[in-house]
């Protein structure tokens, strides 16, 4: 069994190495013929740019993606500099007609995105020519290796039950060397994905055939991310099934997050795209889905006929009615730990790291400031965007619509949710984004705290203050502080993952939806002491 696990780990690491190494493979030059047809297809107006590109890319030498990217960005820079100077010159001469004519020659877009698009055309090499084999050597081998590592634990962990042995004795789960390596890998992955996607264009070649069969087009970096996300969740979902096989709540919940991620977040949008409909994740709720009210999305939806209109109405109804009503009945868990994709990754890939959330009072304070600030930020951004959309202006109260959207996307969408939110799993725990950053979680939290039937009931006097509940709370709630006082846990941040209840050795905690009366129950004296004393103290409190 141990041997099988070691083999699995070896295979997984080999696959990860091949996957990473594939980035450095391939050749990204054009032959003259390819280049000519590419330029014709693109219809660049700037001859200077075409000239520069040709100089850079039509060559006999082999260039990898990094050299390629540098050359393309250089060509863009040379071209744009040239025309910017011309524009400045005509501007000085007040030659408005000529100035205006120069803009069409500039190459617009982020340099790495331009590089990505061209690389997608010019790339050749192993992953492009053998996507099937490449898939098996990376995704296939990785999943197989991971499963070889995970499956034996159904025996090695011993009988069903809570098996948290050695979590704090293992480098990978106790912020040791391995944890930091994982952090570095994840952070670099997200940085490249968000800001330098052209570097990993080879990964998209691996998934081109799958993408084509699903949506009819080649794979983008987002397709790679989506596919990888689902693969990771499924594989680590198997780990959850084994680890919590005695706990039906966890089994069903894991099935639910896997279903919503794979079907709703991945398959349905892809299939919609293949049908020429706007690809849409029907469970992605504004304001987590922060670009729902962006001009491009509103435009896309209003131009897509009935289905577009349906999505528009659905999105609004989801945020305004369905979400709060569901939170009233079930708590925010129905979304955060049953449906949400971010939550889904946190509950599968992130489960080994849940103990790292900070339980201090200071962290709680930070949480409340930060998450509500992000909520205000997202709402403010949306107000500006909608105002500009309907009024046709480009700013509100001096806040430029484009600027605030870009800032939000960069700071919150990319850095907070991705790089920090997931990249820092091994050190700060698996719910950094959900706890400190997610504006939807902030909104659901307010509903859960003030108007909901959900609570974690504590079981009278059985608590022995051991601290397992607090330690394994991914949201950093000091569960024990409530449990040892016999006080129900009613906290805005609780996502209802149910692990506190699972790890409790004394059966003290139960997640449940019940009447609102008595839901919040500060108690002075716990159950156990006789009634007279309780009444006495209660009288005093009143």
């Amino acid at each position: 069994m141990k041997r099988t696990q070691q083999l699995g780990l070896l295979l997984f690491l080999s696959a990860l190495t091949l996957f990473t190494a594939s980035v450095f493979t391939g050749n990204f030059t054009f032959t003259q013929q390819e280049f000519d047809s590419f330029v014709e297809e693109k219809g660049y107006k700037s001859e200077l740019f075409v000239e520069e590109l040709e100089k850079a890319l039509v060559t006999d030498e082999n260039i990898n993606i990094f050299e390629f990217s540098k050359r393309v960005r250089n060509a863009v820079a040379i071209n744009n500099q040239y025309y910017n100077e011309l524009i400045a010159k005509y501007n000085a001469e007040k030659n408005w007609a000529k100035k205006g004519a120069q803009y069409q020659y500039k190459i617009n877009g982020k340099p790495h995105s331009i590089s990505f698009q061209i690389a997608k055309k010019s790339g050749s090499g192993f992953t492009k020519e053998h996507p099937g084999l490449s898939w098996w050597l990376t995704f296939g081998l990785g999943i197989f290796g991971a499963l070889l590592y995970i499956l034996p634990s159904s025996v090695l962990l011993g009988k069903p039950g809570i098996k948290n042995n050695h979590i704090y004795r293992d480098s990978a789960t106790n912020r040791g060397f391995i944890a930091w390596l994982v952090l570095v890998y994840l952070v670099v992955f997200y940085l490249v994905l968000y800001f330098k996607a052209d570097y990993v264009v080879n990964w998209t070649f691996i998934l081109d055939p799958i993408s084509a069969s699903l949506n009819g087009g080649p794979a983008s970096q987002w397709f790679v991310y989506g596919f990888l996300y689902c693969s990771v969740m499924l594989t680590m979902g198997v780990r959850m099934y084994i680890k919590y096989r005695h706990n039906k709540y966890q089994m069903i919940r894991t099935t639910s997050v896997l279903f919503f991620q794979i079907v709703f977040a991945f398959l349905i949008p892809e299939i919609m795209t293949s049908l020429n409909l706007p690809g849409y994740d029907f469970k992605n709720v504004f304001p987590l889905d922060y670009d729902f009210f962006f001009e491009w999305n509103l435009k896309r939806l209003t131009e897509s006929g009935g289905i577009g209109l349906f999505i528009l109405v659905w999105g609004i109804v989801l945020t305004v009615i369905i979400v709060p009503v569901m939170v009233y009945f079930f708590g925010k868990r129905w979304y955060c730990s049953w449906v949400c994709g971010c939550g889904g990754l946190a509950e599968t890939l992130g489960d080994p790291y849940r103990q790292h959330s900070d339980k201090s009072l200071n962290a709680w304070k930070l949480e409340r400031w930060l998450i509500h600030s992000v909520l205000v930020f997202s709402l403010g951004m949306t107000v500006v965007t909608l105002y500009c959309y309907f009024s046709g202006t480009s700013s509100l109260l001096g806040i430029k619509s484009q600027w605030i959207k870009d800032t939000y996307s960069f700071l919150i969408g990319s850095w907070f949710a991705g790089v920090i939110g997931t990249g820092f799993y091994p050190i700060f725990g698996n719910r950094v984004w959900c706890r400190f950053g997610c504006p939807l979680a902030a909104y659901l939290g307010l509903v859960q705290r003030f108007k909901s039937r959900f609570r974690i009931t504590t079981n009278g006097g059985q608590c022995i203050s051991c601290g397992n509940c607090s330690t394994y709370c991914e949201q950093g709630i000091d569960v024990r502080a409530y449990a040892q006082k016999g006080e129900n846990i009613v906290r805005a941040s609780c996502v209802g993952c149910g692990i506190c209840s699972a790890v409790c050795p004394r059966g003290v905690l139960k997640l449940e939806n019940g009447p609102e009366a008595g839901r919040i129950n500060p108690t002075e004296i716990l159950l156990g002491n006789n009634v007279d004393l309780m009444q006495l103290v209660n009288k005093k409190v009143k």
Partner: protein, 453 residues
């Protein structure tokens, strides 16, 4: 200002301090030689097993004590002089008090076994025991086998700890079946099997004769009394119960028996000296409870009570209905009310029992033979709602009523399989009754609570 000194920073002492602070501004000092900060003793096992870091066993942040103006003093009290209200410490320094609360807890029992003080012999009670275990038994290479003597809750926890590091364990239990002085046979036998399934070498009806050592005084083996069998081992865990930790009171004039003798107000024979928690011994038993109760929550309740008295609100210690819980490896156990083992069964007590054919789930309900009054319940693998059973015990409900409303008392996580129908069907078959199980009702579950609000 009145100075209240509490010896011992376990659950009893700390609860007393917290509740005194809630009601007064008196000066409070907590003395401990074990660790500067309060931690959960019952969680020490999880530190060894790697579930928790030691810091996570501490329920309060370090700033808590300052914020609440509770002084923490590290030191080992060696003598108490009530005449001068002075404590003397190991380093001969002294501390005076106006009111003293003794909350020094327990220490592991040693029954004069030959070799009981050798290197490699330890209890599993103090933080120091944990540190020693980490040193002596870090892995199966250094500790080829451990022998645990005494089949109670600490014994099985120590076995679970050692097994988490793959250290072979032999478990000597005096009784003919695990914990059958407390548990009915059905449950005790289920645990015997469960212990064996965890690859623990369980030796029932086995007593320790002696512990042998090498020339350096390190443990090398033990000998079993009954069979004379010698078992090679590197570590011996003594877990045959605990006894009050009160040696330092000798000669103080504070009356002791096994523990510090206290009245119902937790006061000792000496004015302004109280004793609470494991180390306190009631002069007369309260209900069916023992005079000394080494249980987490009774310590907590005594702390709550003594705080009232010290703050001028004279309050009797009146523990309510008995309850407890534990976890035996993977099986959770809860009990509410009194269920005695066959050995200690009251003459009026009858059992109704149910056991799942495959899973580690079973219950025993004790009821009064004649009146059919519900007396108590043991559950294994099923969680129950404390508040409901406490209420039903107070209301002296019948076993029929309890069974009928069992669904409302279930405390298992959502979606768990429930067995109320099987349980009630079995009772109906055995007693020719027609109890129809009632639906889970929020109204019933929260009835008591709603009234008080």
């Amino acid at each position: 200002m009145e100075h209240i000194v509490i010896i011992g920073n376990g659950i009893s002492g700390v609860t007393a301090a917290r509740h005194i602070r809630k009601n007064t501004t008196k000066k409070i000092t907590i003395v401990s030689s074990e660790h500067p900060y309060f931690f959960s003793r019952t969680a020490l096992m999880y530190v060894y097993m790697g579930h928790l870091k030691f810091s996570q066993t501490q329920p309060y942040e370090k700033g808590f004590w300052n914020k609440n103006n509770i002084n923490l003093k590290e030191g080992h009290v060696t003598a108490v002089a009530p005449a001068t209200k002075t404590l003397t410490f190991k380093d001969n320094s002294t501390l005076t008090y106006d009111t003293l609360i003794i909350a020094t807890g327990s220490k592991p029992n040693k029954f004069g076994w030959p070799g009981q003080d050798l290197k490699g012999v330890l209890g599993m009670y103090h933080k120091q025991d944990l540190e020693q275990l980490e040193q002596l038994a870090p892995n199966p290479k250094q500790c080829k086998r451990a022998v645990i003597v005494g089949g109670g809750l600490i014994g099985i926890e120590l076995a679970e700890m050692l097994r988490s590091r793959n250290i072979p364990v032999t478990f000597l239990v005096r009784e003919t079946s695990f914990w059958n002085g407390v548990l009915p046979a059905q449950e005790s036998e289920m645990l015997n099997k469960h212990i064996a399934a965890h690859h623990i070498d369980l030796r029932l009806a086995s007593n320790l004769k002696e512990i042998k050592s090498d020339e350096n005084g390190c443990v090398t083996s033990i000998v079993i009394e009954e069979t004379g069998e010698e078992i090679a081992c590197n570590v011996v865990g003594l877990t045959a119960g605990v006894t009050p930790n009160i040696d330092f009171l000798e000669g103080s004039g504070i009356e002791t028996k096994k523990g510090v003798l206290v009245n119902r107000f937790l006061a000792t024979n000496v004015e302004d000296v109280y004793a609470i928690g494991d180390c306190a011994e009631q002069q007369e038993a309260i209900g069916l409870r023992r005079n000394i109760e080494a249980v987490w929550y009774t310590g907590r309740m005594m702390g709550e009570t003594v705080a009232q008295t010290i703050c001028g609100n004279l309050t009797q210690y009146s523990p309510g209905h008995w309850f407890n819980s534990a976890k035996f490896l993977d099986i959770e156990y809860q009990t509410y009310g009194w269920v005695f083992s066959e050995r200690h069964k009251k003459p009026y007590e009858a059992y109704f029992q149910w056991q799942h054919p495959k899973k580690n789930c079973c219950i025993t309900i004790s009821y009064h033979k004649d009146s059919m009054t519900f007396l108590g319940i043991n559950t294994f693998g099923i969680r129950m709602r404390h508040e409901k059973f406490d209420q039903w015990l107070t209301e002296k409900q019948s076993i029929h009523y309890v069974l009928k409303h069992l669904k409302s008392a279930n405390f298992d996580p959502e979606f768990y399989d429930i067995y109320e129908h099987e349980i009630v069907a079995k009772f109906n078959a055995e007693h020719q009754t027609k109890i129809k199980i009632a639906h889970k009702s929020w109204k019933r579950i929260f009835s008591k609570k709603l009234q008080s609000h």
